[in-house]
């Protein structure tokens, strides 16, 4: 194993693929040290250039927030926020369901704070703007953080006794509140591409299907393949996965997302951003659900013994028993891609996302591309 993940995971990952049961949980707080007892080195290396994270060519607002450090919250009695993030279709919903088993947690929806965060550079980046300098700049930063705290606290009113209010927007990791915990969930990009494909078809989302000109025609064709028969969805998905532009686009998006998140985690570990971050692979959560959810409760400062058992809510057990193609909770299966990827799709995927696969320790090299999938060939 090499690269970003190695620096983040440290000694616990040993370059073993997740199927063999290697732990890929990595938890660390800039202030608390290694929560999970994992060590890591944060020195940047020449082979790992930092992804560009400039928004509209301006300083990301989390950098502005970081510059000001921690502003105290207005009220200590409100439920405190935490965040679950990850690429779409990576298990953010499942993770939130697991945390909701705890009576002191409410994590029910997607706030999409990045919408607000993306707007902020436009208020502080130009010299003619009042908030470009003090005293307004710190007032903007402080007020923005308070806005997030207040909004998140309002989500928790539906669960009396909730001490923690969570957001599970599938998005990039972007630290906004220095006192908050961030859970980052990664999932094998091949399963993500498969799940994204089915999801896009299920929602008949032309915004996603037509995002680039090369996929417009094939997506419309795939939509035309859908019938009332559940299996038609998989036929349409497999049809899309035989097209290079489709696979490359979703694979490339996944890699960019993963590398950016790994970079941010690294920066948080290095103390560049305040806050706690814990990342977990979907596959590890699948294999050791109880152990990992207890670690998540503990990171939130909660007693794991108070949580209800897995299965109390049917959508908390690994995988979904519904297996309805039309459901948001479709399958939840690890390695489902093997039934749907063709050899060309594997090559296209590897070309676009191979680096992230190595960084996340899903593969040790590109040799997997030469092995035929168990399903179709």
């Amino acid at each position: 194993m090499s690269g970003l993940l190695k620096r983040i995971l440290g000694r616990d990952s040993n370059g073993v693929a997740p199927q063999s049961g290697a732990a890929s949980l990595h938890v660390r707080s800039a202030s608390d040290g290694d929560v999970a007892g994992l060590s890591q080195t944060a020195e940047p290396t020449a082979d790992a250039p930092r992804p560009k994270r400039r928004i509209w060519g301006r300083q990301p607002f989390e950098d502005v927030l970081r510059d000001f450090g921690s502003f105290p919250a207005d009220s200590d009695t409100r439920p405190r926020p935490f965040f679950i993030v990850g690429h779409p279709r990576s298990g953010t919903n499942w993770m939130s369901n697991l945390l909701n088993l705890h009576p002191q947690v409410l994590c029910t929806g997607e706030a999409h704070f990045q919408v607000l965060l993306n707007a902020m550079p436009e208020m502080v980046s130009e010299p003619h703007q009042t908030a470009f300098k003090e005293p307004a700049k710190s007032a903007v930063a402080r007020s923005f953080q308070e806005m997030i705290r207040a909004t998140m606290a309002a989500t928790a009113v539906r669960k009396p006794g909730a001490l923690r209010a969570g957001d599970h927007t599938p998005r990039l990791l972007r630290p906004m509140l220095p006192e908050s915990e961030h859970f980052v969930i990664f999932r094998d990009g091949r399963d993500v591409v498969m799940s994204m494909t089915v999801h896009t078809l299920n929602n008949q989302s032309k915004r996603a299907g037509h995002a680039i000109p090369e996929t417009r025609e094939i997506f419309d064709h795939a939509l035309g393949m859908l019938t009332s028969d559940d299996e038609s969805l998989y036929r349409a998905a497999r049809f899309l996965l035989t097209h290079e532009a489709w696979v490359r686009r979703f694979a490339g998006n996944w890699q960019r997302h993963v590398l950016t998140d790994l970079e941010t985690i690294q920066r948080m570990h290095a103390g560049e951003y305040p806050g706690k971050v814990m990342s977990v692979r979907y596959e590890d959560l699948h294999a050791r659900t109880d152990k990992l959810r207890c670690e998540m409760y503990r990171l939130l400062g909660l007693d794991p013994d108070k949580a209800a058992p897995i299965g109390t809510d049917p959508r908390t057990a690994p995988g979904y028993t519904e297996n309805k193609t039309s459901s948001h909770y479709r399958k939840g299966k690890v390695g489902d891609w093997r039934s749907h990827f063709t050899p060309p799709a594997m090559r296209w995927f590897d070309a676009e996302a191979g680096r992230a696969m190595l960084e996340l320790n899903y593969e040790l090299d590109s040799a997997w591309v030469d092995s035929l999938p168990a399903g179709i060939a």
Partner: protein, 331 residues
Amino acid sequence: MSPIKRILKRAIGDSGEDSGPTALVSADTATYFFISGHPRSGTNWLSALMNLHPKVYCHGEFHFQVLRGALDHFTALPWYLAHHDPVRSEAERAFADLVARCLRAQGQCKPGATVIGDHTPRAVRLLIPDAKYLVMVRDGRDVLVSWTYHLLRTGRPEVVHETVRAALAGALTGLDRNAPDSLRSAADGLLHDQAWVRHFAQQWSQHVSKDLATMVEWQQRGGPQSMCVTYERLHASTESERARLYSFLGVEPTEALTISAESRTAPGFGRDDPASFYRKGEVGDWSNHLCDARERWFVDVAAETMSRMGYLKHPSKVDTDHGATREAVKV
């Protein structure tokens, strides 16, 4: 600090960076107002006039409308948490609180000020429900001329729409932005460009129409309080207009300092300096730049809005009562 900035800060009672900020204005005593309008409509001048009052502080451009727009998106989609109450109303409350906190933080620069404002030249938007809103409107032809000079002086083609970006970039080529004659020549070239004139006529017309519609909607639903201020009327009757505005903001007009050229609160700047942010400040200056044919390009696009605002007459005969506007918006 430059001498002119010292004079301006002294004129508005701003303790500024020399003495450092004082205690934060109390949330219990502070009231808020916003000056908005199309860029180059006199929002700076209006804020300077308001700052002549010891209890009023209006400094700078926060551009809250950027976050306001993001908040609209944040609450728009059904699967977003803030689309539904109570999260939605709490997000709105928190946004208004953010705006108020920022204004109070800025307000500490002027001890004694309790009426705190922002003068971002943008479309009027609801920022704080119980705040007061001053909407500045200026003859679009004068705005066009002033905006053209401003864009040339600041030299940033990326800030204009792509349909006119190449024209501005071309005008900036070889331009000496410190040389008045070079600026005048470049401005004349742009004002000869039909696409340029029509584009900004459209932009101005849409901006003013939207502002008027917003004010009408607010009046119909009983708030927030807004007032339309025209540049021309403020120019012609500065004292009575500013007294009306102080009263609108809830402060005593007689407590305000006198207007002066030194504090840039007197109407017009008594000069023609294309290289300055404060270029001319003249009513009807457009007639020195737009011949009949070029003016027609503008009027073709913006006639309806100009008519509503009473601008279709020669500016020297502008109807300062703005009957058409008064009909739509009780100014």
